[in-house]
Point group: D3
Chain length 244, copies 6
């Protein structure tokens, strides 16, 4: 990470989450010059690789390798860097060491904003755990007394990206991001996820719906031509000098 760059951080429970849920934001900010760094806490080897397991002659190492490859290809298309913590999934558990490891990423990256999962997800317990970890690591990285002398971080806003069944996760978007311009990149990244083809069209439709809603929230008199969108829920108040 170049120190003069503006950076962003994405914390993804499984290696494909960042693509479906935040691929547009990643590509858009990369295009705007941000250094976007992704931490995949696991490969989703147990819980999100059903198709791979159904192939014959599989084991955990092979599943992980396949998933790593897909995630790296997707990150590259989106213009981001990616690292893998490999802490396991289904269930995901994070000890203090993992917490400090992620806090150290925060200090290194100095993100201007952070993206992670919804705070509740009754379908997937790894997702809220990832968000919780992202939040607590942010707090640790802000503390002068953690590795005293190191530069601390500011207070980057944190956003929840969209879960699979938004209403069941009590997730309500208060930000609609216009990703029309980078949709080709997002869809190309989505296509890297060979094991989850059933989700390609699902998340294309999600993007179209959020696009229609974004258009509606700027008003039909607006000249903005929004087709694809991504929804985000902010966890902290934003500080601004303008309300338009």
């Amino acid at each position: 990470m170049n120190e003069t760059t503006r950076n962003a951080l994405v914390v993804s429970a499984h290696s494909a989450d960042f693509v479906w849920r935040a691929g547009g934001a990643i590509a858009l900010h990369a295009q705007q010059g941000y250094g976007v760094h992704i931490v995949c806490l696991s490969f989703g080897e147990r819980g999100e690789s059903a198709k791979l397991w159904r192939k014959g002659d599989m084991n955990e190492a092979r599943v992980k390798a396949a998933r790593r490859e897909e995630a790296q290809a997707a990150a590259e298309i989106l213009g981001a860097t990616v690292e893998f913590f490999d802490i396991g999934d289904y269930p995901m558990r994070a000890d203090k060491e993992t917490l400090f490891r992620l806090a150290d990423v925060y200090r290194r990256v100095q993100p201007e904003f952070v993206l992670s999962h919804s705070q509740k997800d009754p379908y997937n317990y790894d997702h809220p755990l990832a968000m919780n970890l992202a939040q607590e690591a942010r707090i640790i990285a802000q503390a002068e007394g953690y590795r005293p002398g190191e530069p601390i971080i500011g207070a980057p806003p944190v956003y929840s990206f969209e879960p699979h069944q938004p209403e069941q996760c009590e997730w309500r978007p208060d930000v609609l991001l216009d990703i029309t311009e980078v949709w080709p990149q997002k869809y190309a990244a989505i296509q890297c996820m060979a094991g989850q083809e059933h989700l390609w069209e699902y998340y294309t439709r999600v993007a179209l719906q959020r696009g229609v809603q974004a258009k509606r929230n700027v008003g039909i008199t607006s000249s903005r031509n929004i087709v694809y969108g991504e929804g985000y829920q902010s966890l902290f108040p934003r500080v601004t000098e303008n309300l338009s």
Copy 2:
């Protein structure tokens, strides 16, 4: 209103509400070149003029005149225009005519954003009524079939400004506006409210608290020097191309 100006609309239940609760936003956007227009639905003649009533020889007309004068002086200091619907308070009631009158203001002003009260206030039933009216009039003004042929409005974001006892009103700010630069104007406008001196220091402290919170939400490493703030709760998702 000049058609080339960017405009904003403030809907205030009583003639002083816009000062305590949104005076900073008004002055700040006026300074940024916005035409800010204020609609006072009532003068607060019954419910918010206790000190005037305690003077001898008072009647409703005199109370209203005194309150109108204060509000006009305050609006002038803030750099805004103001009009008075005079629909009465304690209780406030809005019929269809009032609704259309406000819808017509929307069409005339073509606001880029709208400020009004919290949606709940167990201490004051006029406040939520004003917000409800502001929301419904916005919807009417968006409809092609209302006064067909007239230019409709877009979808301006709507914000709740801060009520007197925020937690009891279930009001949670998701925007902290930095009003440091225009604090002198806001405090001068506050001082126009001769009948409510007990609130001058109360709302100065509110501004200082929101300022500290704004500072904390940009982080202590930030170079932004925020001292005074105003909190707002947005009712609709915002549409953006950047998450910083």
Copy 3:
């Protein structure tokens, strides 16, 4: 109402509600020397008099008369005064005149606390309307500009008494009142409601359950012998000098 007495006000949508839902509180405070005044907005003639209607040869006047008699008998047993606004039920509607009439009751009674219905009730739209009216009338009665010169009221706490299906009404008791001592009076008052015998045992069980819960919330080591209780939800923070 004697001016030196401490008073309380109960606003009941239908003529029997105050018995099932607040009979214990009424009897208890009456016994403590309070003047308790009950306003029945309607007789419940349409919606809560099924048994009377099923008798032959009935009309609205007869139903009202029967209901009035029951309510008066119950109020007498509980030690309270009662008046009937007779504004109709199913649907209940309150105009400004009714609002002012109730505000005037507030000014006359100068209550130290107020009891009414839950703020939501999907089974009964008259109940939330009654509570809304009770709240708005309280606000009117506080305003110096309403009938200027008359003594205004303070800020009496307002409580929601228990609806028929508490969880469906989003009602959560934060006060459990020990009514063990006055249970005989409450049950005697309940028995005045000849038309609704199916509810006698229901509300006896409610009282026993709230009693067990009250006992549990003081702890099994407590010497307080609580058997019957009533639950209340407070709408405003209480002001105190002691947290025990």
Copy 4:
């Protein structure tokens, strides 16, 4: 309505709402032998007929006539009957007469379930008003004292169908209806809405998303082949003898 038929009632604020939001439920139950009756409170002549207004030489009567025709065609395709209250939209207001008119529909239809709008919709104030009216009319129709002697209704479950921006309306589906079998009818009915073509694909995608979610909520091991779905939120607890 044949007395031996099982019936259902749909209360639609504007003349097209029932198609987008409940067309699948209507067609499905019609196919199961239910008599489904639709009440359109308005034609959506002001607020939901933008395309018609943009045609030259239009007035309210012509807009209403065009909308009525579309709605009747759609209802016929879905296998339902429809009536129009024509109470106006943007703003919609319901007086006691309208309330009783709808209560009388309840008594005539004796519905086994009721469908209407979400209870909150910041984009459209007519929608919650319609649901409120549907709920209060149901309560009136249950009261022995309303038109005494007439047969009252039972306690039919009430469901909110899906609003345009579900999360912003605090709408959470707790029922996913499998409408795969009747999708062709729903899509044919959708195509009757000539003035709102931009919504055809939007609501096709909604149906596909709810279908995927329904499939996920029965589990991937299930043999049920669900493609299209509709989401509903129930307002009352259901009573059952089986939890599978």
Copy 5:
């Protein structure tokens, strides 16, 4: 468990919870031919055996033995099988091994629905922990990558049964189960809990109240004769083809 049977799973924090809270559902489904299997995570030896501890000459082993006996007797009366994880209570803690043990139960039982505690209980921290464990184990058991090759489970609905003080636990029943027919079995099972006689009548009254509410939610015109009920809150949307 016979593979052709339809099965259900109950996860009970302490050895008596399943009786008070779900005894009706267990007996009813057993009678309908379901194989109902109960997992008691602990015996409630510390927190729910006050009466046993007050006997002289007691130790943890004896308390556990007495509680096991009671629970087995109750399960037998209800027609269910029961196993004891014995992971301790007050505080209850679940490690990965316990999680996998419960996931393995899911795979073995292949339940069509799951019953456990409310998600919040400020009076008892073991209860939400049990529900959390039940939910996470269900997710693990659904994952192809957990013990690859074993048959996974589908997506059985999960219900929270009724806590001791429902409103304080933010528990809202959306299902009312008619248990009238099996009440004799439930009450017989309740009587096995010799150490907690104070709760026998409490939960009898709970059953009667839920019965009255169930009756009210089907409507007084219904011919269903419901006397006893149990309330449940569903955690996932149900998938259906009929809304009656």
Copy 6:
């Protein structure tokens, strides 16, 4: 602790929290004759000692010593006893041993009420953890089977004191404590916190705002002269015989 004294317990995540957030309640109840005992779980050495760390020549032991001294001085001024668990902060983690240690404090102190943090705080994960620990330890201390034979505790009410950004923590005060009389002691205790001078005026303003709100909630007709206040949120219903 004298056995005949009435006692209270405060559980503070970091060594200064009890001063800002509950200093008034501590001084007030001490003055009323309560024995108030404070448990500081950590010294806030990492997360809340920024100013100390910025001094040269610092290490964790020196930071802790300085913070201990400040906290002891403050507790003495407030009239309370204090003990330090020293379990570390940023992140705070509590094992079973800490839980039992706190449960033992409960049994020794036999508090009549308990004060701790808000249940949610997105700015500080140690705060909710402290409250959770305080709640679970209370439950353990109530159990006959925990250290059988020892005297158990009753059911002392638990209150959340005010977090730094109340609305963001979903904290809503339902109790406003009048601390006017002991404000000098609270402010003297605040001044012991040499490392956090920026918070002195912040929390003075908080006290003034809560004082104004308390005054407003007793009503302007009240003779009570309230200037300074503290807000609390109760976690359990209170049991009472009087509603004034």
